[in-house]
C-alpha cells in the first residue's frame, strides 16, 4: 500500500513536470518565431518578416487570357528567366530545375477544378512560379535561414548557406522549388554544358543546394522589372508592381479585375494573382 502511494506520487510529480514543461516549451517556440520576425524587420532579409504595411510590397498579376491570345509567350518568359538566372537544363524530369513554367489549370488550381469546368480551362497555359508568400511555409521550415523573406515581400535564397536538407521542398505547397541533384556547372555525356551560355552577372549554383524564382531581386535592386514580365512586353500578360501603392499599375489591375490565387485556404498569402 505504502509502495503504491510512493509510486503514484512519483508519477504525479513527473506528470506535473511534463505539464509545466510543455506550455513553456510552446511559449519558447512562439517567442522564438516572434524574435525571428522582429529581427528580420530590423535587419531586413533575416527570417520571416511581416508584410510591410508601408513601403514597397511587390506583387504580380498574371493575365492568363493574354497568354492564351499569344501562344508563344509562355516559352518566351521561361527562356528569359532561365537564361538570365543560369538555370541548367538536364534534359530529364528527375533532375529538372525550373523557376517558371506553364502548367495545366487543374495542376495549378486543384481546388477550382470541378468536373464541369469549362472546356477552355483544359488547354490553358498557367504560368507557375514561386508565390512569394507573406507567410511562407518554406521559410518556417528552413533550419538555417538560408531561405528568408525580405520586407518588400520577396522570398529569397542564400545558396551559400543552404545545407540541402530539402525541408523547404517538402514544405512548399506550390512545387516551386528545385534541388541541384547534380553539378549544374557540369556537362552531359556528349560534352554539352547544362547551362548553355553562362550569364556572368548572376551566380551559377553548386551541387546540393535548393533554388527557385527570386522575383528578380537582383534586377529590382537596379530599378528594373522581373525578366519574365519584361519578356511579355506590351501584352499586359504579366503586371508587376507595388501592392502598397494604390496608383501602381498592379493595384489598378487588381481593383478592376476578379482574380484568384493558388490554394488560398492554406493561409500562405501569395503575392501572385491570376486573371483567368
Amino acid at each position: 500500500m505504502k509502495k503504491d502511494r510512493r509510486d503514484f506520487l512519483k508519477v504525479a510529480g513527473l506528470a506535473a513536470i511534463a505539464g509545466i514543461g510543455a506550455p513553456s516549451a510552446f511559449n519558447m517556440l512562439l517567442k522564438g518565431e516572434a524574435t525571428a520576425s522582429e529581427q528580420s524587420a530590423a535587419a531586413a532579409g533575416q527570417g520571416e518578416a511581416v508584410a510591410a504595411p508601408t513601403g514597397k510590397r511587390w506583387g504580380m498579376v498574371i493575365d492568363v487570357r493574354k497568354f492564351v491570345a499569344n501562344p508563344n509567350l509562355p516559352a518566351k518568359c521561361v527562356e528569359a528567366c532561365h537564361t538570365i538566372h543560369n538555370v541548367p537544363n538536364f534534359g530529364n524530369p528527375k533532375d529538372e530545375i525550373k523557376w517558371i513554367w506553364p502548367d495545366k489549370f487543374e495542376a495549378v488550381f486543384p481546388d477550382e477544378s470541378h468536373y464541369k469546368r469549362h472546356e477552355a480551362l483544359h488547354s490553358m497555359p498557367i504560368m507557375t512560379l514561386c508565390n512569394h508568400c507573406d507567410k511562407p511555409p518554406c521559410v518556417r521550415a528552413c533550419p538555417t535561414k538560408a531561405t528568408y523573406r525580405m520586407k518588400d515581400g520577396v522570398v529569397a535564397m542564400d545558396y551559400h548557406r543552404c545545407i540541402g536538407c530539402r525541408f523547404c521542398m517538402a514544405a512548399c505547397p506550390y512545387g516551386a522549388r528545385s534541388f541541384n541533384w547534380r553539378d549544374p556547372r557540369g556537362k552531359d555525356e556528349n560534352g554539352n554544358p547544362f547551362i548553355k551560355t553562362v550569364n556572368p552577372k548572376f551566380p551559377t549554383r553548386m551541387r546540393g543546394v535548393v533554388e527557385k524564382c527570386n522575383f528578380c531581386v537582383e534586377r529590382l535592386a537596379l530599378g528594373q522589372i522581373p525578366a519574365c514580365v519584361e519578356a511579355t512586353g506590351t501584352t499586359g500578360a504579366m503586371v508587376f508592381g507595388d501592392l502598397n501603392d494604390p496608383n501602381s499599375e498592379v493595384s489598378k489591375v487588381l481593383s478592376a479585375n476578379f482574380t484568384i490565387q493558388r490554394k488560398p485556404s492554406l493561409g500562405t498569402y501569395p503575392s501572385l494573382f491570376y486573371i483567368i
Binding site: 509510486d7 524574435t35 527570417g47 524530369p93 545545407i163 530539402r166 525541408f167 505547397p173 506550390y174 534541388f179
Partner: protein, 389 residues
C-alpha cells in the same frame, strides 16, 4: 570495460567482419554519391526524400522505444527489467547514431551541416530535431555507461545519474514527437497533416523498439550465456502487443477520416499506398504490395505474439517479433515518407525507386548501427555475467 568488446569467439569476430565489410561497401558508394551529388539516388524533384529520411524516421522510433524498458524499471521499480534496461539504452544509442548518419547521407551539402548550429532557427522543426536527437544520444551514452560501469565496479551508480535517467524519459517522447512535427506541420501535404501523427509514431515506436530488443534477446539466448529471464520476456510481449494494437487503431482512424469524409486530398495517398492511384490513364501502385504485406504481417503478428507467450514458444515469439518489426518498418520506414509525396504539389504522380548506391549506403548505415549495438551489448552482457559469477 571497453576491453570486453575486444575478446570474443570466432562467431563474434565473423559477425564483426561481416558488418565491417558492409560498411566498407557502403563507404565506397558514399564516395560515389559525394562526387556525383544526390542525383545518384532515386530521389527527384517531386519525391525529394527517399529511403534515407524514411529510415531516419523509423529509427527515431526504435530509439524512443527504449523508453518502454527504462520507464518501468526506474519509475515503477519493475525489477524484472533489471537485466534488459541497459540493453534498451544501448539500443537507443545505436538507433540515434543511425538517425544522425541517415540525415548526413541525405544532405546535399553535408560539410555545411553545422550551419544548423551557426544560424539557430527556432521556427524550424529540423533545428529542434537536431537538439532532441543529440540530447537523447548524450543522455543514453552517459546514463547507460555510468550505470553499467557502477555495476562493473560492484557499486551503486551515483545519484546524479538518476536525475539524468528521469530526464531521458520525457526526452524519449520528445524525439519522436518532434520527428512527427517535421511532417505534420506542413501545409498542402494532406497525408502528413494529421494531429494523430505524433501519437501514431509513438505507438509504433513502442512496439517496434521492444520487438527488435526481444528478437536480439532471443538471439543472445542462443549465442551467449546471457538470459533476459522469462518474466521480462513475457512483460515485453504485453508492451509490444498493446503498442502495436494502438498503432493499428490509429491507422484505422486515418482510414475512417479519409474514406468516410470522401475528401479527395485525404484519400489520394491511401489510395496510392493500398490500392494504386490512377492518373492520366496510368495506375501507380509500386508500394501496394509492401503496404498490404505490412498490414497483413501486423494483423497476424499481434495475435501471434500473445499465442507465443501462452504457449511459451521461443520460435513463435521470434516469428511474431519479426512480423511486427517488418510490418512497422514498412509502415513508417517506407509508406509514411514516400506516400506523403504522392500526389505531387502539382497534382501529378511520380514514383520513386531507390538506386543501388542508395540501397548500399542504407545497408551500410544499418550495419554501422548493428556494429555499435554489437560492441555495446558485448560489453554489457560480459559485465552482467561477470557480476553474477
Amino acid at each position: 570495460m571497453i576491453e570486453k568488446a575486444l575478446k570474443g569467439g570466432s562467431g563474434y569476430w565473423a559477425w564483426i567482419i561481416f558488418l565491417l565489410a558492409i560498411i566498407g561497401m557502403g563507404g565506397m558508394f558514399y564516395v560515389q554519391q559525394y562526387n556525383y551529388g544526390l542525383g545518384i539516388t532515386g530521389m527527384s524533384r517531386d519525391v525529394t526524400w527517399g529511403v534515407y529520411i524514411s529510415q531516419f524516421t523509423f529509427l527515431v522510433g526504435v530509439a524512443a522505444g527504449g523508453l518502454m524498458l527504462v520507464l518501468p524499471y526506474y519509475i515503477h521499480h519493475y525489477k524484472d527489467f533489471g537485466r534488459i534496461t541497459i540493453l534498451g539504452e544501448f539500443m537507443a544509442i545505436a538507433a540515434v547514431i543511425m538517425c544522425l548518419l541517415f540525415i548526413m547521407a541525405d544532405l546535399g551539402q553535408p560539410i555545411r551541416a553545422l550551419n544548423v548550429l551557426l544560424h539557430p532557427t527556432p521556427n524550424s522543426m529540423l533545428f529542434w530535431d537536431m537538439i532532441v536527437l543529440n540530447g537523447y544520444l548524450f543522455l543514453n551514452v552517459v546514463c547507460g555507461w555510468a550505470v553499467l560501469h557502477a555495476e562493473y565496479k560492484g557499486v551503486k551508480y551515483a545519484r546524479w545519474v538518476k536525475y539524468l535517467i528521469y530526464l531521458s524519459i520525457p526526452w524519449a517522447v520528445s524525439i519522436h514527437t518532434v520527428t512527427a512535427f517535421l511532417y505534420c506541420g506542413l501545409p498542402g501535404r494532406h497525408f502528413w497533416l494529421t494531429a494523430i501523427l505524433a501519437p501514431r509514431f509513438l505507438a509504433s515506436a513502442f512496439a517496434a523498439g521492444p520487438a527488435l530488443l526481444l528478437l536480439v534477446a532471443l538471439i543472445m539466448e542462443r549465442t551467449t550465456k546471457f538470459r533476459v529471464g522469462q518474466v521480462a520476456k513475457d512483460k515485453l510481449v504485453t508492451i509490444i502487443g498493446y503498442a502495436a494494437l494502438l498503432n493499428f487503431f490509429f491507422v484505422g482512424c486515418e482510414f475512417f477520416v479519409a474514406y468516410y469524409s470522401q475528401i479527395p486530398g485525404h484519400m489520394h495517398t491511401l489510395d496510392y499506398l493500398f490500392w494504386g492511384l490512377s492518373h492520366d490513364g496510368h495506375t501507380y501502385n509500386n508500394l501496394v504490395p509492401f503496404m498490404r504485406a505490412s498490414m497483413l504481417m501486423g494483423l497476424v503478428g499481434i495475435p501471434l505474439i500473445f499465442i507465443a507467450r501462452a504457449r511459451q514458444s521461443g520460435g513463435l515469439l521470434a516469428l511474431s517479433c519479426i512480423l511486427l518489426f517488418l510490418s512497422l518498418w514498412i509502415d513508417k520506414g517506407l509508406g509514411l515518407v514516400l506516400g506523403g509525396f504522392v500526389p505531387t504539389m502539382m497534382e501529378g504522380v511520380t514514383e520513386y525507386y531507390p538506386s543501388v548506391q542508395e540501397l548500399g549506403i542504407t545497408a551500410a548505415i544499418w550495419a554501422t548501427g548493428f556494429f555499435v549495438l554489437t560492441l555495446l551489448y558485448k560489453v554489457a552482457i560480459e559485465v552482467k555475467l561477470e557480476q553474477e559469477g
